[in-house]
Symmetry: C2
Subunit: 316 residues, 2 copies
């Protein structure tokens, strides 16, 4: 069986033909213009899809098209309600448009949900039935897999895992609430904290790292910490605390077998993971009797969105 998986971002659309083993057979992509009307942009996509199917000799052989994109959608109908990156698409039916122009069934879901599904089926989560994936990037996203299946709540609107308040009246979050997990555990939050630390401690090694990296990003704190800088260490300790407290909340709610971390900050690998594991071991509810939770990183990287989107079709 072959499915097409499509990952719709704010500036480009990436797609892949994926077989039932989760292997990518062929990739394609196109730029998307934010200000351009919905029909124009999606017509470019459907033209490309028809061309790619034809070119690869797959006419009649593609079972369906899975799509992952951020925002709020009526997943069953395919209607886009609120697309933060592509506001021109609001109020349009993506599923219907593509089905009409390509003639193949389309399934849509949230990008974070889809990525979790990809990791669960063909990535580092493939030996688990119950897992949570948390993406630590510009924001904090996530997906929930229960019994090997994507859990996305009533009307597929669930699993906004970044928008759980962990500090009442805490830092302002993009969603309007105060104190969300995202406002503490995203790469963006870590960068803000790093800048704040630098403004207070001009003696910190963080400045040398800033020069090396030609800027401040989520890596600075970790690099400085690894070199023994106490301000870098403090940033990492605090970050581990924020992240772990959120993860423990999810452990207590879902008691998953594994937590998969992805996104930029997850690239810190064992240095981050070992600290998170220690924190979890110490704090999670019912330690005595509860199964422990494996904390691992994603293995599909940027392909998780495309492969996961294809999984909407492969495992429907």
């Amino acid at each position: 069986m072959i499915a097409i998986g499509i990952d719709i971002g704010g500036t480009s659309i990436k797609g892949a033909f994926v077989n039932e083993k989760g292997e990518i057979l062929h990739r394609f992509s196109l730029k998307v213009v934010k200000e351009s009307p919905f029909e124009k942009e999606v017509k470019k996509l459907t033209d490309l899809l028809n061309e790619e199917i034809e070119k690869n000799g797959l006419k009649g052989k593609v079972k369906g098209i899975g799509i992952g994109m951020p925002g709020i959608m009526d997943m069953d109908e395919g209607m886009i309600i609120e697309s933060p990156n592509l506001p021109e698409w609001n109020g349009h039916n993506l599923k219907k448009f593509i089905e009409e122009h390509v003639g193949i069934e389309v399934k849509i879901n949230n990008d974070a949900n889809v990525a979790a599904l990809g990791e669960a089926k063909f990535g580092s989560g493939n030996k688990y039935q119950d897992l949570i994936m948390i993406t630590l990037g510009t924001g904090v996203g996530g997906g929930i897999i229960i019994g090997g299946k994507l859990f996305d709540g009533h009307l597929h609107q669930g699993a906004e895992l970044g928008h759980m308040v962990i500090r009442l009246n805490g830092k302002k979050c993009g969603c309007g609430r105060k104190g969300c997990f995202e406002a503490y555990a995203s790469a963006t939050a870590l960068i803000k904290d790093t800048r704040m630390m630098m403004s207070k401690h001009p003696e910190s090694l963080l400045f040398a790292v800033e020069k090396e990296l030609a800027g401040v990003d989520a890596r600075n704190a970790f690099i400085a910490a690894r070199r023994g800088d106490k301000y870098g260490k403090k940033l990492v300790d605090d970050y581990v605390m924020y992240l772990s407290e959120g993860l423990i909340n999810y452990c207590n709610i879902f008691r998953p077998e594994a937590i998969i971390l992805s996104g930029g900050v997850a690239n810190e690998g064992e240095y981050l993971l070992s600290r998170v594991r220690n924190y979890l071991e110490k704090e999670h509810y019912g330690m005595k009797g509860s199964p422990s939770v494996d904390v691992i990183v994603s293995s599909l990287g940027y392909d998780s969105g495309k492969i996961g989107a294809a999984c909407l079709i492969l495992f429907k």
Copy 2:
């Protein structure tokens, strides 16, 4: 079909014969002695079960026995790992013992999960497929129903809904963490806050209410607030904030159709519910596109544990 539902508390065991409509045909109960050995106490239960089955002419007609009890258990095996109320039961196999002595299949789950299942099948949740029940009592417990089925996580260890940190480094919780939902939204927490408010404001109406109720419990704040006392109102406002912030977290994670509140504080009814609804409407993520969430109270009351336990058999 007839099932027996059993609710094991810290001082008594309550049971009922329940039919497939969720109707209680007959009730029974016995005292349980905390310090007494497991075999002795459970033998009293199995003797009573055999007697009740015989007496009611139901020999061969009971499909199974469902049990709800607090604590950490190996649900599939039936082994009790950590029972806070009945520590003598730790390390004993409850399921096996009862099956051997009564000859009927036994299924065990957490008391809060079981109560949620009861409400979902035969209580105020029976028109919903996806719901969350939160019990506001001594602690905060809860259960999750997804697609009409109990969701209890990996190895049935999930849904410790009271132990989600909502205020990092906040109030100490019984579980060892700081800032759990339970430490803010339980009746116990409200009572503590009420006492604290009284210690600061001797002019408050809370004192008159204390006299009427012959003590301080979770009702004092609500009674004083209803009579216009500003300190009572402040307590209720804060309580609504704590409760609602936790509920919004669960809305963002699960996007349920409904939230059912139960336990002592839920008896405040519409006075509490209308305030919670307003808070939720204002704050939950993706308001524009997300379906709204019904906030209601449980309808089975103290029977939810027994009926829910029977549902472990009726809907297995």
